[in-house]
């Protein structure tokens, strides 16, 4: 069925992701979904701000955070957003190969970010910051861990798309899927910028 639907590049409209009603529904629905996700992370960030001084007798932000590591992570994630932008630009130009190539770049960078995060958590754990050590530790792991889970989900999602559509060309069915996946990726990137500011910069400086 997909193959019948596949159009050649010349036939594709300039914005294949919103050319069909299904595509437009997905696009709008996903924006709404991200609105809900904003409240979700807002609640977690608010909780963290309320609890970050509650370190009980355990280690606190200034004892733990390495800004250099987190800065590298931030850069990696920002770059992964950039590659996904390149992917969508190429999708709109009708280049299936480049779409896939750039998207794989996003996946790899995302995985690298996740690897660093796991290392980070492991390191903190070694320094005595368990999940139940203090209200601060619980709130920290809940916030950053939820973000990490989103990154993981994004990696799996995008990989699925990339494998599923490795040979299909760009179609009116898969263009909206790539587009929403990238929208999602940008969102978790933006959330990370907030986390970087609120958790790490404020944790060390404020």
């Amino acid at each position: 069925m997909a193959e019948q639907q596949a159009s050649t590049y010349e036939q594709l409209p300039p914005n294949p992701e919103t050319a069909t009603l299904d595509g437009r529904n997905k696009y709008l629905g996903f924006w709404f979904f991200l609105g809900g996700e904003t409240v979700l992370f807002g609640s977690l960030i608010g909780t963290y701000l309320g609890l970050r001084a509650g370190t009980a007798d355990g280690p606190g932000p200034a004892d733990l955070f390495h800004l250099d590591l987190v800065f590298i992570m931030t850069m990696i994630l920002l770059t992964s957003s950039l590659t996904s932008v390149m992917a969508i630009i190429n999708m709109k130009r009708g280049s299936h190969k480049k779409l896939l190539g750039w998207m794989w770049g996003t996946v790899i960078l995302g995985a690298a970010f996740l690897g660093f995060e796991i290392y980070e958590f492991y390191d903190y754990y070694q320094q005595g910051l368990g999940f139940g050590t203090s209200a601060f530790s619980s709130a920290f792991y809940a916030l950053v861990g939820t973000h990490g889970a989103h990154v993981l989900f994004g990696i799996l999602w995008i990989s699925t798309l990339l494998i599923r559509y490795r040979n299909s060309g760009i179609t009116l069915t898969n263009a909206p899927k790539f587009n929403t996946a990238v929208l999602y990726w940008h969102f978790i990137d933006v959330v990370w910028v907030f986390i970087f500011t609120v958790v790490y910069l404020l944790g060390i400086g404020g």
Partner: protein
């Protein structure tokens, strides 16, 4: 694309796999009704216990469980799904669409709600239901023994996910699926208010998701968010809960307002007074609904400044609400009023709800709130708005749309008995509770003492509850005895909006041709300025419809299994459950399903038969 009808002959399979918004609407109504009866039985048991001072019909623990389950069930599993039922069935019809924007997600939302609700109720059989009130305040909830609270957390998480999905679906449906000519400012008010309610769902439910998540982490995985000796803070739970909780009451009441705004003009034979004022009042209520959550926390010690701000914001909501009340009254003014059962519910709603609104403003006076807080005055207040508003709205909607949904009219005589007995029973039950509260009877107590002077009024209150039950049983009977009233069902009330232009029940693709909307009250306009039929916006042709699928149930089942894994901390069960869920999502994502086409010949055949 395939044109073959994949619909199977097996009725049960058909309902399990349906993605038709009308069938999902009916499923929501059936599921909601089931939980409404359950919550009602829980209420009656509590009322019997409270009938006499120091009565020993129920133990205190059982009372706490009934209390918690009654509130939780009524809010999450009865009122909201019943409204979702009408929203599902009616919104696409009202905007001239053939389906919702996301039929698959729509089905998923329903099954998540149902499985979440059942999961919550499994707790009755596994050693005790949740017992910390529907608000589950910490540390009562974080310290509560047994698994009851874990069922609450996981059950609500699963059903809440369904609600969120449903909300997004309605938002996109209303924005993207309207028929040609159906501009936003021509939409019927039920669609409008459901749209705003969906917006509230979208922005309120994630706060609950996080609250439930944190409490789950606290109870099951050793988190310390609310543990004061580890630097935690119990007030955070209250904020998260009420940031969700207050919008939740508007999620319930706005669609009910919408139903009244359909019923009243129809039976006053007048267009709705102040349509655009109604729309803007709805939007303002939706917006202010997010600004007032801390009025539930006046006595927590936020300080006079915060209390004053939240008090004033709360009172401000009375203004747009008042606008609505006056618009309904002015719609009735000079109308040719028909006292059908549907309209009786609407007329009974106005004074009943206003009483609840007045006590609401009283409660918003933060200084006085210290006196009212956690007394029966509050119980009286919220039952006046919830029953006098939401439940009356549901009954009005049921009598109004029943012919459309099921193809027969509910018996009017029995309907009137139902209305009057219920109305009297309702006021008997809850009016006296205002005074019980002022006399100092606390809410959420399993009993009271002989000499406190609460006995008589509690007795009256319980009698009222019996009366309401009898009334409701009359309604249930009339559902089965009215089936022969099948004449004049397509447009029985001389309707104004698009849903009355279809057959009853509508064809599964709703409209053979998408209607062209030429103004507000589209059908009414055609009746008085056209030939009484909708103009078509498209030639007769093949119709594209989505395919049925079993995956929504599989996804929901997986989450339910994983929930048991969480409740009893059985890790392999968590993995199996999540595996099923993600596996089904994976299949959904990888297998492209383009739906099917209904050939034009079949549509012509339907038209000749209809």
């Amino acid at each position: 694309m395939s044109t073959a009808q994949t619909g199977s002959k097996n009725v049960i399979w058909d309902w399990l796999t349906t993605v038709d918004h009308k069938k999902i609407g009916i499923l929501y109504l059936a599921g909601g009704a089931f939980f409404f009866v359950l919550g009602g039985i829980e209420a009656i048991l509590m009322r019997i216990q409270l009938m006499f001072p120091e009565f020993t019909f129920l133990g205190a623990q059982t009372f706490n469980e009934l209390l918690t389950m009654h509130g939780t069930t009524m809010i999450f599993l009865a009122a909201m799904p019943l409204l979702f039922g009408f929203m599902n069935f009616i919104i696409p019809l009202q905007i001239g669409a053939r389906d919702v924007a996301f039929p698959f997600l729509n089905a998923l939302g329903f099954w998540l709600f149902l499985f979440g609700g059942l999961l919550l109720n499994v707790s009755w059989f596994t050693g005790g239901a949740p017992d910390a009130g529907w608000t589950a305040y910490v540390p009562l909830s974080s310290e509560s023994a047994g698994q009851g609270l874990d069922y609450y957390l996981l059950g609500l998480q699963v059903s809440g996910l369904g609600t969120l999905i449903g909300g997004i679906n309605f938002l996109v449906t209303v924005i993207n699926m309207r028929a040609p000519g159906m501009s936003m400012m021509r939409m019927p008010l039920f669609t409008w208010s459901s749209f705003v309610a969906s917006m509230l769902i979208l922005f309120a439910f994630p706060a609950l998701t996080i609250g439930l998540l944190l409490l789950m982490l606290e109870r099951l995985f050793g988190g310390q968010f609310f543990a004061v000796d580890f630097g935690g803070n119990v007030i955070i739970w209250q904020h998260l809960f009420w940031i969700f909780g207050h919008p939740e009451v508007y999620i319930l009441i706005l669609p009910a307002f919408g139903i009244f705004s359909e019923v009243i003009p129809t039976f006053a034979k007048k267009r709705l007074f102040g349509y655009s004022a109604m729309v803007f009042a709805t939007l303002i209520i939706g917006f202010l609904g997010f600004m007032v959550w801390a009025h539930h926390m006046f006595t927590v010690g936020m300080g006079p400044v915060a209390n004053a701000i939240f008090a004033v914001a709360t009172m401000a909501i009375a203004v747009p609400t008042g606008i609505k009340i006056f618009n309904w009254l002015l719609t009735l003014w000079g109308g040719r009023i028909r006292f059908t059962t549907a309209n009786l519910w609407a007329l009974g709603f106005i004074p009943s709800f206003v009483m609840g609104g007045v006590t609401g403003v009283m409660l918003a006076v933060s200084a006085a709130n210290y006196q009212f807080h956690d007394t029966y005055f509050v119980v009286a207040h919220f039952h006046y708005v919830i029953i006098g508003g939401v439940v009356f709205g549901l009954f009005a909607g049921a009598y109004f749309w029943w012919p459309k949904m099921f193809g027969y009219r509910l018996n009017e005589t029995m309907g009137k008995w139902f209305f009057w007995l219920f109305l009297i029973g309702f006021h008997l039950t809850f009016f006296v509770q205002h005074f019980l509260g002022l006399l100092g009877m606390q809410r959420r107590v399993a009993s009271y003492l002989e000499g406190q002077g609460f006995g008589d009024m509690n007795f009256v209150s319980t009698m009222g509850a019996f009366l309401m039950s009898i009334a409701f049983i009359i309604f249930l009977i009339s559902i089965f005895t009215s089936k022969k009233n099948t004449e004049n069902v397509n447009d029985p009330w001389d309707g104004r909006s698009l849903e009355w232009t279809t057959t009853s029940p509508p064809l599964h693709y709703n409209y053979p041709q998408t209607p062209l909307v030429r103004g507000l009250d589209a059908f009414w306009l055609e009746k008085y300025e056209g030939d009484g039929r909708m103009k078509a916006a498209e030639p007769l042709g093949d119709i594209h419809m989505p395919n049925p699928t079993i995956l929504p149930i599989v996804i929901s089942l997986g989450l339910t299994i994983a929930s048991f894994g969480f409740i009893y901390l059985v890790y392999w069960l968590i993995f199996v459950g999540l595996g099923i869920t993600f596996g089904a999502m994976f299949i959904r994502s990888v297998k492209e399903d383009h739906g099917h086409h209904i050939p034009v010949d079949e549509i012509k055949r339907d038209l000749e038969e209809g």
